[in-house]
Amino acid sequence: MGTLELDNLTKIFSDPDEGEIVAVDEFNAEIKDGEFLILVGPSGCGKTTTLRCVAGLEQPTRGDILLDGESVIEKKPKARNMAMVFQNYALYPHMTARENMSFGLRMTTDLSNDEIDDRVNEAAEIMGIEDLLEKKPSELSGGQQQRVALGRAIVRDPEVFLMDEPLSNLDAKLRTQMRTELQDLQQDLGVTTVYVTHDQTEAMTMGDRIAVLNDGELQQIGSPDECYSEPANQFVAGFIGSPSMNFFDVELRDSVLMSEDFDVTISPEIEREIDGDGSEYVLGIRPEEILSEDAAEGGEDRFTIDVKVVEPLGDVTYLYADINGKEATIAVDRSTDLEPGDRISVAFPVDEIHLFDSQTGDAIINRGAPAADAFVTEDESTTEKTEA
């Protein structure tokens, strides 16, 4: 079993110059046994601090961490039965791969040398590093070191894996390869895993659920698809997805969301959810949902833009243009022959738009439908703080 609960986890650092810094602010989450949870957010959002609190490397200021219902907050790192994989691998440079992997077992168990050897060999086999066991880290490539580090984690057969950006020191190709391997490994072993990353792709592809953090506060926790299509607020909407969602300030007038360059006529369903005339919102739309050229022609709210930059990526081409004085991204088919300077018509389909409260940033409409209010407003204090 490896059910991990974070209960109001709070970590405040006191800094002599800057006073108190709230790194993690009342983080609540329940991670089921065998679940793969991704902690994602920009630099300094508190994701690594959260992980370090769970590992026991930082003592939380408030709150509790429970493993299978039992608080581990008073336990030392070694007593928590968790293994951690570090960004820079943190292998012992003076030990061979075998010694690195067996160190934890030698320190914490009474296993005989033979038993330790067996377990190391087993883990090495899983990681495919049998040939590297007698080498020192300095003789291994980055990818091989990462495998040894993972091997060191699995050899201890922990309840929970904690991974702190384990792939970010690898080159792009190896990262993609290790990403799938790591997923396979996690599924095979079925060990509860908390994985910290700032990488979009890792967040979207690897985990069962994503927890999006910003400024120490949990913004949303849900499946990758939920976070993508039903973001709880403007931050999540902007953070998840690459390129980012486009945001525009709009004002409601006579069932139309109006702005400088475009209008969007809304459905009665949306109108029921929002305030009356004159109220202001932030409209969000993903680059791939914007209709352009022929597709936009039939639409009633179409408008024209001047293409500034054309960015072909191979599988898709992005256009950049100014809308309402802000740069907007539009995804078009890769076969496009558009060039910078071309004038095209575009439209925002009403059933793909997101609306966010212009003050709090909370989602009101997601993809043309009322946002599920399940997550956001549960913790009223979050909203109040943002308003202040």
Binding site: M84, F86, A90, Y92, K136, S138
Partner: protein, 322 residues
């Protein structure tokens, strides 16, 4: 001559004409760079030749002469001075003494330095103060500390150590720390051991270079404090330790001059004689510059032998410096 422009710098035209006249341009680029390199290095090379090269060569020559302060260099006598040195009991005693001093001082120095550095690394209240306290013995001139130790140990009623021990009832009569053949050398060693601040500093620097994640990894792996030191920190300090051993071994023949000079003068009965003090005594007390030079050369040979012996192990341990 190269004409100067108004701003005072040499004009490019003038440089060109000088180069032409010196026919530098006819040389290959590589040759030109070589000449430039030597020109840049020349001032330093000259200084080094003057302050190091000349005295060294002159010292070697002196060791083959019978010289006094008034006759420098004196009459050439071949290897006579070396033959004399090999038969000179005090030289062998001084060599033995300095090896004893090194054998005690170096390990204790490393032990105290490493353990102190570990303690100073902890976030103790006032650790900055302790750091300074451990550096002070190294910061001051050794001669001053020698005098302090002499005042501390001098076997009269004024000697602090004796007064303390006597008043505390630990001894019944004064111990002649510096004037007995039994206690003199240990006393000199004592005065050398305590100045381990520099090694502490070097260990502290090395400790601060330990990757924090490796230490955290050890914590998660379940190593306790002692195991972390034994299995992770100490092995990772190996290059530093080796460096400190090598530096101290290479300087071993120079050990203790200041302390011996102010505390014992090499006595009693050569009990604290060290090679560096022997050289000084031969030259400035006995006016035997030839023999003093031969002794200094013998010290050099010992040092070179030690350095050569250490060369291999040092090379094979370079791997941790990544």
């Amino acid at each position: 001559m190269a004409s100067k422009t108004e701003s005072g710098s040499v004009s490019p035209d003038a440089v060109q004409s000088l180069k032409r006249r010196l026919s530098i341009e006819s040389l290959s680029l590589h040759q030109q760079e070589t000449i430039e390199g030597w020109l840049f290095a020349l001032p330093k090379v000259l200084v080094i030749l003057f302050v190091i090269g000349f005295p060294m060569v002159f010292g070697v020559y002196l060791s083959f002469t019978e010289s006094t302060l008034l006759a420098l260099p004196g009459e050439f006598v071949g290897i006579e001075n070396y033959v004399w040195l090999m038969n000179y009991g005090t030289w062998w005693i001084s060599l033995k003494n300095v090896l004893i001093i090194g054998a005690v001082k170096i390990p204790t120095n490393l032990f105290f330095a490493f353990t102190t550095a570990l303690l100073l690394r902890e976030k103790l209240r006032g650790s900055a103060l302790y750091r300074v306290a451990f550096i002070v013995p190294v910061a001051g001139p050794p001669i001053i500390w020698g005098i302090v130790w002499r005042l501390f140990l001098f076997p009269t009623e004024g000697g602090i150590a004796n007064s303390l021990l006597l008043n505390l009832g630990l001894i019944e009569q004064y111990i002649p720390f510096l004037s007995s053949t039994t206690f003199a050398l240990p006393s000199v060693i004592m005065s050398l051991i305590w100045a381990y601040g520099l090694s502490t500093l070097i260990y502290l620097a090395a400790l601060s270079g330990l990757p924090p994640s490796v230490m955290e990894s050890a914590a998660i792996d379940g190593a306790n404090k002692w195991q972390k030191i034994r299995y992770v920190i100490w092995p990772l300090m190996k290059p530093t330790t080796l460096f400190l051993v090598v530096i101290q071994l290479i300087m071993v023949t120079r050990l203790g001059f200041a302390q011996v000079f102010v505390m014992t003068g090499g006595g009693p009965l050569d009990a604290t004689m060290v090679p560096s003090y022997l050289v000084y005594e031969l030259a400035f007390s006995f006016n035997e510059f030839g023999r003093a030079s031969a002794t200094a050369m013998a010290m050099l040979v010992v040092t070179v032998v030690i350095a050569l012996l250490l060369y291999k192990p040092l090379q094979s341990n370079a791997e941790y410096y990544q």
